[in-house]
């Protein structure tokens, strides 16, 4: 890939904008990746890259990916929270690149939970705040 200037990035952005279909804000999926010391050490960046790639492969555009610090589930890092409209908000644990790809295919596309990686909610010392 060639070096890109900010101007070239802007042009690329503008050309993509023309291709974009009208979005419905309420229908987009939200992915929150735990990127604290524990998440980083457990490979949260591999999960991040896998989400980007798999969503791109399936041409899914209306998704936001954000990051947060430690969610209090250090033992099950990388942890990822996924919110898809009309589905329960779920925290997944031990999300390596493969599980991230499964979440895109099963949870986001097929609307089925990836049951073997679900963690109910953050640890008590986090949610009692």
């Amino acid at each position: 890939m060639a070096k890109m200037t900010l101007e070239e990035l802007r042009n690329l952005r503008d050309s993509k904008k023309k291709e974009m279909t009208q979005r419905d804000g309420d229908k987009s999926a939200q992915i929150v990746i735990g990127m604290g010391t524990c998440g980083i050490a457990a490979g949260a960046k591999d999960a991040f890259d896998a989400f980007l790639e798999e969503l791109g492969n399936h041409d899914i555009k209306d998704t936001r990916i954000t990051q947060t610090g430690c969610m209090g589930l250090c033992f099950s890092e990388p942890t990822v929270e996924v919110a898809v409209p009309d589905m329960p908000r779920v925290i997944y644990g031990n999300v390596d690149a493969n599980v991230a790809r499964r979440i895109v295919r099963e949870h986001i596309i097929e609307k089925k939970l990836v049951s073997d990686h679900i963690f109910d909610k953050p640890a008590a010392d986090i949610i009692s705040e």
Binding site: M1, M4, M20
Partner: protein, 181 residues
């Protein structure tokens, strides 16, 4: 310690986000014999006493998680530099900011791999903090620099999947140019 230098850098830059900095500079300078990293922020800084405590892995200010008794970011840095004959220093002043500087020997066999700088840069730029972050990466005299403010101006919402994909392409292109002979 962290598995890669880029993981260590990510962790240390996040400290600056949490110090409420409005201007953060990450400078990574690679030469054949040295890897120099400087992370400078204008955040809330630390007193000399707190700074000493922050080097202890069993110290945390308890603000994020009140029952948590560990804080591993800075200790991982000192562990890495001590184990590989490098140097690491932190200067901090309350209300002024903090600067973390370290120099590591790329030839040392105990040094962790450098890791994936593209993903580190993309995750840092899109971490969701209010201030500005400028990343400058140079290798053997070549360099590029980009700031979060510039990226937001060009791309809009950085956490939108399309922006993330374009941002990754942008950083990847610049990284490949650094490595090209």
């Amino acid at each position: 310690m962290h598995a890669t230098i880029c993981d260590l850098i990510t962790d240390l830059v996040q400290n600056a986000f949490e110090a409420d900095a409005t201007e953060i500079k990450l400078n990574v300078e690679e030469t054949e014999n040295n890897l120099k990293v400087v992370i400078a922020d204008n955040g809330k800084g630390m007193s000399a006493t707190t700074l000493e405590k922050a080097k202890d892995p069993f110290y945390s200010d308890g603000l994020k998680h009140k029952h948590r008794k560990v804080g591993l970011g800075l200790p991982f840095l000192f562990q890495t530099s001590e184990m590989t004959g490098g140097t690491a220093a932190i200067e901090s002043e309350e209300g002024i900011g903090t600067t973390v500087t370290f120099n590591l020997d790329p030839a040392n066999v105990d040094l962790p791999m450098f890791g994936n700088f593209t993903t580190a840069a993309v995750t840092l730029m899109t971490y969701g903090f209010k201030g500005n972050l400028t990343i400058e990466h140079s290798k053997d005299g070549k360099s590029y620099s980009v700031s979060r403010e510039e990226l937001i101006e060009v791309l809009g919402d950085l956490n939108d999947l399309e922006s993330l994909t374009l941002l990754k392409q942008f950083i990847e292109g610049n990284e490949e140019d650094l490595k090209a002979i």
